[in-house]
């Protein structure tokens, strides 16, 4: 049932008029999550240092997958630029424009932040094709 609700939210993303609704919805969910965390830590069932160490490891494991994927795509773009210097300015400008666009959409809807907080934040992937001979494993499906 929760899945259905989430799907509705994501499906209406293209509709700018509903941004405010989505933002309100996502912000409330994120506030609820925050309050739950605050309440949980206030109970202090474990010692703070032990909890902090555990938390840091858990976060590192999560970030690791994101960082690997980011590094692969970043390095691939750098390699494309090295091979095609004439595309450098275009590519860098396009990266910035894309970043700005995603940031603006995120500010309008909090879609990514919510997805990530819910733990189902699979990020976009590059469409890759199989090479003629040996099949490589699909790139960076972890994050």
């Amino acid at each position: 049932m929760k899945e259905g609700e989430d799907n509705n939210v994501y499906l209406t993303l293209g509709d700018k008029n509903s941004d405010a609704v989505i933002l309100k919805h996502n912000l409330q969910a994120l506030k609820n999550e925050k309050n739950a965390v605050i309440e949980e830590t206030a109970k202090a069932l474990v010692s703070i240092p032990a909890a902090l160490v555990r938390m840091k490891w858990q976060y590192r494991r999560e970030i690791y997958a994101f960082q690997v994927k980011e590094e692969i795509y970043g390095a691939a773009l750098a390699e494309v630029i090295t091979r095609n210097p004439q595309l450098k300015e275009k590519i860098l400008a396009h990266i910035e424009a894309s970043y700005q666009h995603i940031l603006a959409r995120e500010t309008a809807t909090l879609r990514l932040t919510r997805k990530l907080a819910d733990g189902n934040g699979r990020t976009a992937s590059v469409n890759i094709v199989a090479p003629d001979e040996n099949l490589p494993s699909p790139a960076a499906k972890k994050a």
């Binding site: 590192r60 970043g74 300015e89 910035e96 995603i102 995120e106 994050a143």
Partner: protein, 134 residues
């Protein structure tokens, strides 16, 4: 919450095709009168006002949310550009797939470097690419 910009400013305005997109985005941003920083105040759990005791667990959580979002946004942006380059025919998809496959192997093999850096926090930026350099 996360950086306003990813690429050094000298690269922002190049290629006429980008101009319309950028203009639209700017309009969006100003109309919204909202920034992620404003929103962050609602999402972050650690108290930011003076006089309140620090809570390291909550601070760690907030820091993680920022870090994770920044990385996710970068992945989304990079994936979009790589896919667009293929669409536009600037890049042969066989060649791109081969590049990605190559770096997937290389970076996974160097996973220990990433782990080590996550523990030490020595280098705050990426380890295997750098768009800041000239």
């Amino acid at each position: 919450m996360i950086p306003e910009s990813l690429i050094p400013a000298r690269f922002h305005i190049s290629g006429a095709e980008q101009n319309t997109d950028t203009a639209e985005n700017n309009a969006d941003l100003t109309q919204g009168k909202m920034s992620l920083d404003n929103i962050a105040a609602d999402i972050f759990a650690a108290p930011v006002r003076h006089g309140q005791s620090r809570n390291m667990l909550l601070e760690e959580r907030d820091r993680h949310i920022k870090d994770r979002l920044f990385r996710a946004v970068k992945i989304e942006a990079f994936a979009r550009v790589l896919n667009d380059l293929q669409w536009e025919g600037e890049l042969d998809n066989q060649e791109l797939s081969q590049i990605i496959s190559e770096y997937t192997d290389k970076i996974n093999e160097a996973g220990n470097e990433i782990w080590l850096n996550l523990i030490t926090g020595e280098k705050p930026t990426s380890l295997f690419y750098d768009f800041q350099a000239e």
